[in-house]
Symmetry: D2
Subunit: 305 residues, 4 copies
């Protein structure tokens, strides 16, 4: 850990001064109000040593990063059967997504595009008594952090303008791959996206993907080693929309981004590192986040490749 | 190495008896003549310890696996400039490929789809005096193996029926991303695909991607560590056409397949393992090859994730 | 007219005995209950002479044929401005429709695909005080037929299973090309589709497209001659989904089909002819309806070409 | 005829002064050299009365207009069998063309997109002893005009830069829908496109589509009435690429355009009218040509609708 601290700090200050050519997401009014100056990094090792710089302790909207958490819970419930309803292939460019969904008869390409995450939410609703409460409880146990919560305003904000997600969910339902009521699925989905965490909290909650022997504070195993590895594999091939190849190429770690500007990256058997900077590049991933992580894995030679 | 031998042998005999639901590639007459009973495995560690089972020593047509070798040579010549002419993103399903090429104005999604490999061959032609001879010399040095050679019959066989590749190459040329004569590019491309190697030879020639400190017998470095890692990243996200996600998910190693039935997989810092079995699944990858590797990385817990 | 009667009768009985390889639409439960034996034809000349055979007087669900009526009313309200929100181009195969909608930024290819009809309904809602009542009144005036009405059961039936239309409407709204509430638009759209008419009634209501001098019984002009011709042009190029070219080629008249099995065809300056037979071919158009009309225009040499 | 002359002249001078926002086609060097000031109109009635204005007597490259002539000859040879190899549906937007060709397994959507015209040329080569000479002889007989000829320079010019057409032809061949040698097909295709005619000559050669009783000066019938009507139907739905709907909507006549700036339009049983103005709109059709014809059919109320 010690040797990483200095490197993290150096790169943090180097990247902080870079001219940020990205743009804050504005399709959800609530997200547009976040100051674009925020910049934080936090690493937590599998020994639970933690180190943060900048706004590492400030909560932000994790958005699509929540898709990894909902996938994890659905995988626990369904096991390998899960892959009958959602595939594990990268999706190519976004502009093909609806066409692909049609060609694939309503089976989304992977659980990290919106179509896939909606199917995952549908599956969770079929398993959970009180989906929102139960999912939150799962997240809290995962990170031993009872303060985690949804941001109601963000959830409502997405609901009002989420015509594309409504379209998507109805389209999948027309193929029979959404079993519950569309409104219920969308409501739950928007809540999962509205989860708020800091870099520190995110780097802690994702340790279960870095540490083969991870158990929650209650002593529960989250995923078998084999399944955790598989989730990491999907993260690597599909975690950054149509920039997944680029992230693997430049950073070389499994990871997931959200439009709130957060990026989680995992080095199996070593650590979880999280960066937050709200301005996004054209593909919708944090500009400074990607830059930081590229410099970090290059300097530490710690890509998985 | 010793501990791997027993596992390789056990899985080899287990998979040998599995009912092979795949089909031998028949679009090139010469490939259709290969007996589908062939089944070989060979692992070579970065310490150059080697172990093979079955038909590990019999040469076969490496086909698309050659795309990794041509990419490597082009990367040496061009460095990061290379990515102006070919991208590093997975391609989604094959049926979108021409559409994507049009949307991307002639820049192929990655160097491992045919479109990308044609652009790579075009680049090599611009750099090499005698493309076929020079490329073969590069491969021979890489593996310290002067016996490597093309199979003229296979090369000719592809030429005669390769209407789609001719179409593809002219289509890219219409965007200006092929600089040399289309016939010259295709001729060179078909030759590179016709290279023949055994599992053993393949597992040796690809050690440069497993070993950070690899140098050829002449003392030449092939790629910098950073670049070798990047090639591995592209292999992981794009090495198996639209089954790349599946291979990452099930096997968890960077790798590349060819329609001759070969699969190369690399464990960075450890080994290179090659399987050969001619019958292909629906996505065009060796059925038993994928099965063997999935069992192998599961039993040895040696995925990179 | 007299000379047509015999021809219509002859072809009617010839086609009646043809083995019908089509299938009744079953995606709306209410439509699936209609007997597939129904077969009716009715022609009305611009002199209002009328002649019918078979079940020409039995009401059926006109479904998409209503799109011509809603387009007509919207065209009256908006004039040429209408074409800013919906185009007049054939849509190619259905499987591209969502992709095209995305490429065209939410502007539907024409008013006769569902996307276009939804935009037309949205426009009508913006103009009408009581959309359902006012649209029905318009249809009644057009045909001087106060008995025309919606079928509530069919409208409800579509609502329950219309996930694709909900998807479509939300998708268009995400581009800003639906101004009213999505539920309101869909509700109105489903009602317009549920209109019921007989062959005779349909051949009367569409006379305004055949007769340049048509005025309603109240003395109102429906469309200027130039606009009526333009509606006919769109019918010819876009009236039969991806079988529009085939209908123009085989029948040679502007026309419109519905999944209820009805087909309306118009010979400018002469007549309107309507056929009803519920079994549909693979493209969703009445099998016997197309067959009848092809034989009819061939025998009477009355295509517009 | 007399009543048309004044109208043609009036509109000619009105449109002549319109600011032409189009651009001359420059993808073939030879076409780019034509002066954009050229503007001619010629009408020939089925009674062979002819009237021209402006550069009506100057030859230009008819380009894609030749596709109607090659289709006609192929239709004579093959009859209805022809439609097994090429369809009669509009193609939607150009950007889908390759995708559609793949989805349709190599059967082009219609004979007026390049893919379809290449298949038509392939069919002609299978029937003709000396394709170029025999096709030219057919055109000369059709118009009783022994001066018609190819422009060698234009044909060569297309050959050199026609990478997309080479791509297309090889792509179709990969599906087996090109029977002859690709080079032979392309060479013949480029020659047919290089035919040169004046507005007057074009309006004469296409009379066989306007006049049901047309016979050549040698007394030969060109197409049966039924087949001529069908060609007109395809012209109406497919004659202007993805602007076919627009042309039907604005002009209301079957017609065909070429990138040389010519447009042929046919009023069945009445006349053939041809306009030439080299500057093209964004969809590749003559800007002033479309404007002239829209004004002409509006003022004469002579659309077929």
């Amino acid at each position: 850990m010690e040797n990483y601290k200095k490197i993290i700090e150096d790169i943090y200050f180097e990247v902080k001064n870079v001219n940020d050519i990205g743009k804050v997401a504005n399709y959800i009014p609530e997200l547009a109000t976040v100051s674009s100056d925020n910049f934080g990094v936090n690493m937590t090792s599998i020994k639970k040593e933690s180190f943060g710089v900048g706004n590492f302790d400030k909560k932000f909207s994790i958005q699509s990063i929540s898709k990894v958490l909902s996938l994890t819970l659905a995988y626990r419930f369904e096991g390998a059967k899960l892959w009958n309803r959602v595939d594990v292939e990268p999706s190519g460019n976004p502009f093909n997504s609806l066409l692909q969904l049609e060609a694939d008869l309503g089976k989304p390409r992977n659980p990290f595009i919106n179509a896939g995450a909606l199917v995952i939410c549908d599956i969770l609703i079929s398993h959970l008594k009180n989906p929102k409460e139960d999912f939150l409880a799962f997240c809290r146990e995962l990170s031993n952090n009872p303060t985690l919560s949804y941001n109601e305003k963000v959830a409502q904000s997405e609901k009002i303008s989420g015509f594309r997600n409504i379209a998507l969910c109805n389209f999948i339902k027309s193929f029979g791959n959404i079993k519950n009521n569309v409104e219920t699925v969308l409501d739950f989905y928007f809540y999962t996206c509205s989860l708020e965490m800091s870099c520190k909290e995110l780097s802690e909650i994702f340790l279960f993907l870095a540490d083969d022997n991870f158990t929650t504070h209650k002593g529960n195993k989250v995923l078998t080693m084999s399944r955790a590895k598989r989730v990491n594999a999907i993260l690597l091939t599909c975690g950054f929309y149509d920039e997944s190849g680029e992230f693997a190429f430049r950073v070389g770690l499994p990871g997931k981004s959200g439009v709130g500007g957060g990026i989680v990256a995992i080095h199996p058997d070593k650590y979880c590192i999280v960066v937050w900077s709200p301005k996004l590049n054209k593909k919708g991933n944090s500009y400074k986040g990607m830059l930081f992580l590229e410099k970090f894995t290059t300097k530490t030679a710690s890509s998985i490749f």
